[in-house]
Structure formats: C-alpha cells, structure tokens
Subunit: 410 residues, 2 copies
C-alpha cells in the first residue's frame, strides 16, 4: 500500500502541470474509448449483476449497478462535459503588491492525491476519474465490492487511453485491495494522500471521519426544513412544500419537516393536508398541527430522521425565532428554506440559519452542482471547511502563493 | 465537557450575527481593559514565573512566559489593530443568477466554535481571542499549564468586557480542564467544535492530527530551501541566502538547505562560504560542495532536519529538475525560493515546486501574515485544504450559499 501510494504521489506531480489542451484531448479520447469498448464493459458488468442476483441484492441496488449501452453513452457524455469545463487550475484567486514591491499571487493548483470511497454505481468511477484528471489530481478509487468487475473494466479503458498518450496510468488507480482493511490503511496515509472523499452510507462516513488522519470532505445526510412564515404567499408556499418533499423524496435535499407559523396555521394546514394527501405523503404533526388536521403524532425521533421517503413532519411555531431554533436543533446544515414576502423575516432567516444553502422562496431541491450552474458535481459537502454545499470542479483545487521579488530581504 | 461545549455552540450562533460596530467597540474596550488591569495580569504572571523557576524552565521558555507592562501594552495594541481590520464576515465571495432566475450569493460567515491549543506565550490568549471574536467565532482556548495563571487573568479581563456589554462570556472560554485528557476529549467533539488549531511542538501536532475527528488546520514544521540557479545574480543570491538563514534562524520560514547549480558552484560557493563564516553559520555540504569549500559532510538526516538554528546544508545539483526533486523529497511544503534571472527557470520552479509559498528572487523569511499584508496572523498553515500558508482573519470564516428565489420549484 505504502509503495503504491508513493507512486501515486510521484505521478501527481506530473499530472499537476499538464496543460489544459492535453487534459481535454485525453478526456475526449476517454469518452470515445468508453463507447468503443461498451460491449466489454457490459460483459464485465454482467458478472457483477450475476453475483448481485446470487447475493440477493435489492432491486434498487441492482438497478444502480446495471450498465446498459445507453448508460455507458451517458458516462461518455459526462466526460465530454467535464472536458468542456474551464480549467480549474491556474486561476489567480487574488493578487496584490506589498509596500516593498513583492508581487503576491494566490493561484489555484491541484490538491494532489485524492482517495474516493464509494458504493454501487459504476458511473461514479468514470465521473470522478474525469473530474480528478481535469483538475490535475491523481485519484485512488475504492468502489464497492458488488461493482468490482464493472469498475475494473471502466478503469482499464480509461487507463489505456493514458498509456496511449504516454501518461502514467497511475493517474487513475483502483485501490488494489478490496477489503475494509485497505480503507483503514488508506485513510491513515496523510503523508501521501491529500484528501479523502467518502460517498456512501452513514456508517461508512462516520467510520472514515473518526479514523482518518487525511482531511475528509464528506457528503453526510441532509435533514432539510421548509418554514412557511406568516407573510408567505399561500400558493407559492404549497407549491414549494410539495416540490421539496415529493418531487424526489429519496435524495438529500428533499424536505423532512415543514414548519408553519401559527398565524397562518388555520389557513395553510388544511390546504397543505389536501395537497399532500393527493401525493400519498405520510404526514406526522405536532400537537398544535393536530388541532387543524387529523394526522399521526410526530415524535422527537421523527424530527431527527432523514426519511429518504415520502413521509413528512409538520410543526407549528409561535415565532420565526422558534423556527430557526428548531432547525438549529434538528437540521443537518444542508439546505433550509423560508417562504415569506416579508423582507425582515427573510433576512433574519437567511442570516441566522447555519446551513450550506439557505433559500428564500425556492425549493431546497435546487441544492446540487448542476442546478447551481457549477457543472459536473463532485458531491454536496456537509463540511464547513474547504468546500461547503454543492462542490464543483473548482473545489478539487487548493492554492499556492507565488511571490515575485527583485532581491527583497527582511 | 459535553455540556460546556454545547453552551459554546449555542453562544456561537449569537456571536455569529453581531454587527461590526458592536464587535469593534467591544474589542477596543478589551484593549483598554488589558491596560487598566495590567497590574493584576502581571501579578498573576508572577505566579507562573515563580512556578517556572521552581520547575527549572529554560531561559528561553521563561522569556516567552514573562509579561511586562510593555508586553501588555503590546497585547492591547494588537487587539486595537484587529479591531481596525475589515470585517471578514458577510463578504460576497461570488454571486450569479441561474437560468431559472435563482440569485445565488456565496457569502462568508463565521466558522462557529474554534478550539485553539497552544503553548507558553500568554499573548496568544488575547491575540487569538480577539481574532476569533472579530470573525464572529467562539473560541475555546487551551493554553500551556506553565502559563495557567497568566492565561486565566487575561481571559478574565476580556470576559468581563463581554459581560459589561451584555454579551455571553462563553464567547471566550478557557478549556476548564487542564490535563491532556481534556484535549483528547475536545478533539473528538466534531458535532460541537468546528475547527481545531494546534500551535506547538511537533509531537502535539502529530497527536492531534492523528486523533482529531474535528477538522484541523495545523502549523507544522518549516523545512525551507533556497535554490541558486545558474543564471542567478551573484550578489542578490548571497544577500537572500544570508537573510533566509541568518536573520532569524529559529523560525519556520528560515532556510535549512541551500541548493546551488553546478555551473555556478565554483563562483558562488567560496563567496557563500566566506559570507556565512562571518555570520558564524555552521555549514554542512554534499560531496560536490566539499570539492570547493572545506566543510563538514551533510547526511540524509541533515537534509531532513529543521534545525531552527544557525546551521545550513549546502547541496550542488546538475539541473533545476534535480533541485525541484530534492525539495519534493525533503521540503515540508512551507516556503521555497529560486534565485534566477532566467524566465523559464523561474516559471518552472514556481509551477513545479509544491509548497504554500514559492518565491522568485526574494527571501523565504517573508512568509507571514504581516509581511504579506494580511494583517494580524492566525498562523502559517501547512494544510493543503481550507487555508494554506499565512492565515489572515479571512481564513477564520467559511461560507454559505444564500439563494433568493421567486417561487422556483424543480
């Protein structure tokens, strides 16, 4: 492992200085190669699907694992889109001249070696490999065991393109060991690995955060709220609440709890009740809510649960302050929204709620790289440091200070 | 501990939204209070000095521990300078409007609760408390046991000003337990503490990096190089080399190894030898160097040592590439310099050396917040993520995305 990562580190210095022209040519060739070798990839994917069937994988997981001609086309298209992004390396972030004439430039550079630990979906292999390569980083990929053949096939195709272009194939590596121990070792190599990005279940992320000596940018759970203020536009409030809960309940930026100001409870709750019933949403509510509509009682545990399903808690509050406090207590710092026409209420909410994304009069469902216009998404960070919220390709860079002098000494 | 930090977290939400006006008024009052209570602080410092004498602290440590009227004045002055800085909170870092009309603003906000673990010098207590307060953060300070009375006295004075202004005194806290175990607990509280900044010896920093589940911005060692290229201006090269090594050998941005291109070895080495002898620098050299000047032999261990003393290794290389490789092998990614008049050599060095600060024709001694013009310095980060190199007060903020909509749903 040590030797393998030392090689990665060494190669990272070469990859870091590739020109945008070379990187984009290679990425486009990678996209073409995926399509050219589509049959090989699907044959290898068949092995994983076969094993998955034997191991009794759920239908949802089997669907995530499956590769088809269309899906491989989609992977190729994603790489082409990444190639088309502006080069994130070499941007001057700030620059100034000091009194004594030092010209200081803060310039974006690749991070180095990035370890990515993920589950099931094989397209993550090509997406993250392309994002890392475009940003001048070496990636060490550790996919799920259930997708082993698919991931290997995809990596082989991409690595062959590197070799054909006389670039070190170690720029895109699969971690050569597939047991949990290899992850345990990887996350302790802080001299050789610069960043770990875990994408997966809560247990995996918790384990990595607690044990990694390498910095981690995590994509943790999303427990999101929408607050309907007393000055909300009623129709807008219902539209946004429905969208935030029902458009895709299984994702991290979906709403789990709807908070309603008491002054509009009598007006809003019956209408909301009706609208959600139509969407087959399972509703739970606080005591106050249950005075207006007949639904199940919401418990402390309910407020603390990321349902990832068409279930919603409703809570009535006396003040906006109470809403903000409920969010501080239960929210995961992901995405939180207020619906209000009142300027002061909106400002108060946006400034006092601590979350990666705070919305006024829009659905929390917009928290993602694509919807934000950042291009291909690395993930949605629930870190407070380095990257927060939707991570675009620029977040795969760090910076250095270049200082141009003319003989200055202290 | 849990309860104490829960209180800190709660208070951090209040401190985060204080106006710049309030923060600056309170900071100026803190500066005045330090001067007003100078006698009290010095009396408490006497107790630490007495204990230090009894425990046989070295003269250097005793000097770092000592507070005098002048030093307390200096602490007050530092707080006034921090008050005068531009508010780091609420800066719009980026902003754009998406196709569907969402107005997205990436805005700087306080990090939250910052744990700072440091040693000896009591002025760190007031400096970091002021930097954290100015940036809207709550600090939990854990100073060295040897400065316990001094740190408590300083914190008491600052906290009284908070109370007088009806602000929660928990905004500036000393960790209420002074054993190593309390640090062990602190760095595991990732739900309540947002950032740990260790300032101290290598062992402390290593321990924290390996065990913290809270993100760490560390100030690690500085093993810095200066490379004299074949096209260097000879006089400038000698001036910068002398300054980088001798002006203050005990600091992290001082040079430990001087690298010289073989084409100028015959010209430069005797002159460098003479200049360094005059500064009583203890020189060690590679085999090639020792063909030109009679000095001790430098070993692999020497190249790997941060001397923090007036000792210097000299190494002759055949190419600039070899210089860059030596730096990649032994450098700590802190500050590295090239002296050259050749455009291509300078560009190659600045782009291929991976360090927080890379210099052309200037001394590495400039790596600090003050010299960079960033104002009061939080430290010099050897992290690659979040903050790298000299950390100004802006690095004590993170960001959130504020999204202003008009009813958008997906």
């Amino acid at each position: 492992m040590q030797q393998f990562l030392e090689e990665s580190k060494k190669v990272s210095r070469e990859i870091a200085t590739l020109s945008g022209e070379v990187k984009n040519r290679v990425l486009n060739e990678m996209a073409d190669a995926l399509i050219e070798h589509c049959d090989y990839i699907i044959t290898q994917n068949d092995k994983d699907m076969q094993a998955g069937k034997e191991n009794g994988l759920s239908e949802a997981l089997m669907d995530r694992l499956l590769l088809t001609g269309e899906r491989v086309q989609g992977m190729a298209q994603a790489i082409k889109e990444i190639a088309a992004l502006k080069d994130p390396v070499g941007r001057t972030l700030e620059g100034w001249v000091t009194e004594n004439g030092l010209n200081i430039q803060k310039v974006s550079i690749p991070i180095g070696v990035i370890g990515i630990i993920y589950e099931s979906r094989p397209n993550v292999t090509s997406d993250t490999a392309a994002l890392c390569f475009k940003s001048g980083n070496v990636c060490v990929l550790k996919g799920g065991k259930e997708a082993e053949h698919s991931n290997k096939a995809i990596a082989n195709v991409l690595r062959n393109v590197l070799t054909k272009n006389k670039l070190p194939e170690q720029a895109i590596s699969l971690l050569p060991y597939s047991n949990r121990e290899s992850v345990a070792k990887l996350i302790k190599q802080d001299k050789l690995v610069d960043l770990i990005i875990p994408r997966g279940g809560e247990a995996l992320i918790k384990y990595i955060c607690e044990n990694s000596s390498v910095p981690v940018v995590k994509h943790d759970k999303g427990l999101c709220h929408t607050y309907i203020d007393k000055n909300a536009d009623a129709k807008m409030a219902i539209d946004i609440a429905l969208n935030a809960k029902c458009q895709r309940p299984g994702v991290c930026n979906a709403m789990e709890t709807l908070i309603v100001h008491k002054d509009v409870a009598a007006l809003m709750l019956p209408a909301l009740h009706e609208a959600f019933i139509e969407q087959n949403t399972h509703l739970k509510g606080c005591e106050e809510t249950r005075k207006y509509i007949e639904i199940e009682c919401a418990t402390h545990e309910d407020y603390d649960t990321e349902y990832l399903a068409n279930i919603l808690n409703i809570k009535v509050v006396n003040t906006i302050k109470e809403a903000v406090e409920h969010i501080a207590k239960y929210g995961s710092g992901h995405s939180e929204a207020i619906i209000s026409e009142n300027y002061t209420a909106v400002e108060y909410f946006l400034n006092n709620v601590d979350a990666a994304c705070v919305y006024a009069n829009a659905s929390t469902r917009f928290t993602d790289g694509g919807a934000f216009g950042l291009g291909a998404e690395v993930g949605i960070s629930t870190n407070k440091l380095h990257a927060r919220g939707p991570m675009g390709i620029n977040d795969l860079t760090t910076y250095k200070f270049k200082v141009l002098g003319s003989g200055q000494v202290r």
